[in-house]
C-alpha cells in the first residue's frame, strides 16, 4: 500500500502540490484525473521518489520512504513522450531493469520474450526505438515497465501522443496486462471518459490539490464540489447560477424549474446548477413549449456554433452570460444565430452551494 500523508511540494514561489493525502491499495487501478498543469505529473514524481516532498511523508507498505532515492524503490514509470534509450535495441530496452538488477540471462530472456509477446513487440526486438512507430515505441516503454514487476506502476498520460486507434487498442489492453502483476497501478489522464473506461478508483486534481478520491463512477456521479465536477466532465460542465425560492429554482431568462425531491429541503438562496452536456436535449424553435411537462425544465439560448461528430452533434450556445454546450444525438442542422430551446430533466442536475460544495446530486443511475 502506498500512502501519502499531507504531502506538499513547493518550488520557489510555485506550489506544485498542496497538502495531499492518499492511500492507494495493492492490486488496484487508480486514475489521476485533472487538466494540464493540475499537478498529476508532480504527484506521480513524488510517488515514484523522483522528487522529494517539501513537507509530508510517503509510506510504502507502512515503511517511510520519503527521502529514499528512486533507484532503491521498486517502481516503474511510463511517460507521455515515448521515452526509451535510443542507442539500445528494443530487446535491451526492455531488459534494462533486469540487467541492472543483475538477473541471469536465461531469466531475462524469458521475461523479455513474455513481455514483448504480451505487448506485440516480439517481431521488433532487434530494432532500435528510433526505427519504430510512436505506438511501438510506447509499447516498448510499457514492456519495460511491465518486465520489472514493480510494486508501483505509474503511467503518465501514456496514450496522449498516440493516434486514436492505437489509443483505443492500448487502453483496453493496459488494465488487463497490469492487473496480473499485483502492483499498485496509477494512471494519469486529462480525459474523464478515459477514467471512466479504466474504472477502478479516481483522484481528481485541481491546482495541486486532490479534490476527491474514490470509486471512479462514484466520483463521477457524486462529485463533492463544483471543482471536481468540472474536472470530471467532458465536454465542459454547463454551470448556471440560480436562486432557490421555496420549491423552485429560478435562473436567468425565463428559466424556472421545480426542485427534485432530494433537494426540496435545501434552504432558500443562491446556488449553481451543473448540467452535463449530454443531459440537454434540443427543443424546436423559439417559444416552443418544453417537452416532458413539469418534470422538465428548459431555456432559450442563441447558437454560436455547431459541430457534427459522426452520430452526435455539439451545439454551443450563449445563454445570458453563460456559454452552454449541448451534446445531442444524431446530426442536427442548426445555424449560428438561431434561437434554440434546450431542455433538461431537473432530476439530473448537480446543485452546488455558493462555496462550490455539492448540495445535491442525482440519486439515480444517471451517469
Amino acid at each position: 500500500m502506498l500512502e501519502l500523508r499531507n504531502v506538499s511540494r513547493t518550488v520557489g514561489a510555485d506550489k506544485h502540490i498542496v497538502d495531499v493525502s492518499l492511500k492507494l491499495e495493492r492490486s488496484t487501478s487508480n486514475v489521476l484525473l485533472g487538466p494540464t498543469l493540475s499537478g498529476k505529473t508532480s504527484l506521480m514524481r513524488l510517488m515514484a521518489g523522483l522528487d522529494a516532498p517539501t513537507s509530508g511523508t510517503v509510506f510504502m507498505d507502512g515503511k517511510d520512504v520519503t527521502g529514499m532515492p528512486v533507484r532503491r524503490r521498486n517502481v516503474a514509470m511510463v511517460y507521455q513522450q515515448f521515452i526509451n534509450y535510443p542507442t539500445l535495441t528494443v530487446y535491451e530496452n526492455i531488459a534494462s531493469p533486469l540487467r541492472v538488477a543483475g538477473k541471469p540471462q536465461a531469466e531475462i530472456d524469458k521475461a523479455v520474450k513474455k513481455a514483448a509477446e504480451l505487448l506485440k513487440m516480439a517481431p521488433y526486438l532487434d530494432r532500435t526505438p528510433l526505427n519504430l512507430s510512436g505506438g511501438q515505441q510506447q509499447r516498448t516503454a510499457l514492456a519495460r515497465a511491465l518486465v520489472k514487476n514493480a510494486d508501483l506502476v505509474l503511467l503518465d498520460e501514456p496514450l496522449a501522443n498516440l493516434d486514436y486507434k492505437l489509443r483505443e487498442e492500448l487502453r483496453e489492453e493496459l488494465p488487463k496486462i497490469f492487473a496480473e502483476t499485483g502492483a499498485i497501478f496509477v494512471y494519469a489522464t486529462t480525459e474523464p471518459h478515459e477514467a471512466l473506461l479504466l474504472g477502478g478508483r479516481t483522484a481528481t486534481l485541481s491546482q495541486g490539490r486532490v479534490t476527491q478520491f474514490g470509486d471512479t463512477t462514484e466520483v463521477y456521479r457524486r462529485p463533492q464540489d463544483l471543482l471536481t465536477a468540472r474536472t470530471f466532465s467532458d465536454p465542459p460542465l454547463n454551470v448556471i447560477a440560480v436562486e432557490k425560492t421555496g420549491e423552485r429554482f429560478a435562473g436567468p431568462g425565463a428559466l424556472s424549474f421545480s426542485a427534485p425531491p432530494s433537494q426540496l429541503n435545501l434552504p432558500d438562496g443562491r446556488y449553481h446548477v451543473g448540467i452535463r452536456p449530454h443531459r440537454l436535449t434540443l427543443g424546436h424553435g423559439a417559444g416552443a413549449a418544453p417537452a416532458g411537462g413539469s418534470s422538465s425544465a428548459s431555456f432559450e439560448a442563441t447558437v454560436t456554433l455547431t459541430e457534427v461528430t459522426g452520430s452526435e452533434t455539439f451545439i454551443h450556445a450563449d445563454f445570458g452570460k453563460e456559454r452552454i454546450v449541448a451534446l445531442v444525438h444524431g446530426v442536427r442542422r442548426v445555424d449560428a444565430g438561431d434561437r434554440v430551446r434546450l431542455a433538461f430533466d431537473p432530476a439530473h442536475v448537480l446543485v452546488f452551494d455558493e462555496r462550490g460544495t455539492t448540495a445535491g446530486a442525482p440519486t439515480a443511475l444517471a451517469a
Binding site: 498543469l37 505529473t41 528512486v70 507521455q80 515515448f82 541492472v100 538488477a101 503518465d156
Partner: protein
Amino acid sequence: MSAYEPSSHGEQRIPASSHSEAALGQRERAKTGHFRLKIFVPIFYILFLLIPIYWLISLSFKPNQEIVSGLTLWPQNFTLDNYRVIFNDPSWYETYYNSMLYVVMNMVISVAVALPAAYAFSRYRFLGDKHLFFWLLTNRMAPPAVFVLPFFQLYSAFGLIDTHFAVALAHCLFNVPLAVWILEGFMSGVPKEIDETAYIDGYSFPRFFGKIFMPLIASGIGVAAFFCFMFSWVELLIARTLTVTDAKPIAAAMTRTSSATGLDYGVLTAAGVLTIIPGAIVIWFVRNHIAKGFALGRV
C-alpha cells in the same frame, strides 16, 4: 510545473513530422532550376579557400631559389628536400609529435571535466549557475599576452614547465568553457525523462552516464572534441611560453626558419603544410558528427 511539452527530441523520433529524406529529395527536385545556379556559390567559396592553401603546398615543393626568383604557378624544379629537412631532423619532427600529444591530452581533459559540468548546467538549477556559466565564458575573452608570464610562473611553481601536460592544462582555460557550452547544448536536447527512466530502472548515476547518456550525446562529444582540437592546435603564444625543448610545439619550431641568414621559405611552407594535415584528418573523421551534431545541438 512539469508540463511536458513535446520536446524536440520527441519530434525527431516521429518520422512523419520530421523532415524525411523523401521530402527533402522532393524539395531539391522541385528547385532544380535554382539548384544549378546555387551550386556556384559554394564552389566559388571553396575555390577562394583553397587557392591560398594550394599556393602554400606548391611552394613547399619548390627549392628556395625558385620561390624567391619569381612566380611559377606550379613547381618547375619539383623537390621533396624541404620535407626531407623536417623528417631527417628530430628537433623538427618531434615538435610535430609534441603538438599532437598535448592537443590530444587537452581534448581528453577538457571533455572529461566538461561532461559532468555540462550535465549539471543542463539538468539542474543551483546557486549561482547562470553567473558561473557566464564567468566560464569570460575566460575566452582574456587577451593572453599578459597572462603568459603568470602562467609560466604558476606552472614552474608546480614544476610543470616543458611538459606536455602543462600546455594541455593551460589550454583548458579556453577549451573547457567552450566544451561545456557545446555539451550543455547537446545535453539539453536529451529529455531528462531518459535520465529518470534510467534511475527508475535502477541505474546508478555513473552507470547511467556511461552506458546510456554518453552514447546519446556522442555527436556532441565529437563536436566538442573537434573544437578543442581546433583551438588547442592553432594556439601558439601559451604553448610556446610553457615549453622549452621537450614539449615544443611545431608552430614554435617554425620561427627558426627565419634567421639572420634569411627566411627559409621552402622549409617554412613544408612545415606549414604539415600543420594542416592533422586538422584535415580530424575533420574527415568527425565530418558526419559535425553535420549531424550541429543539427541536434545548439553549439
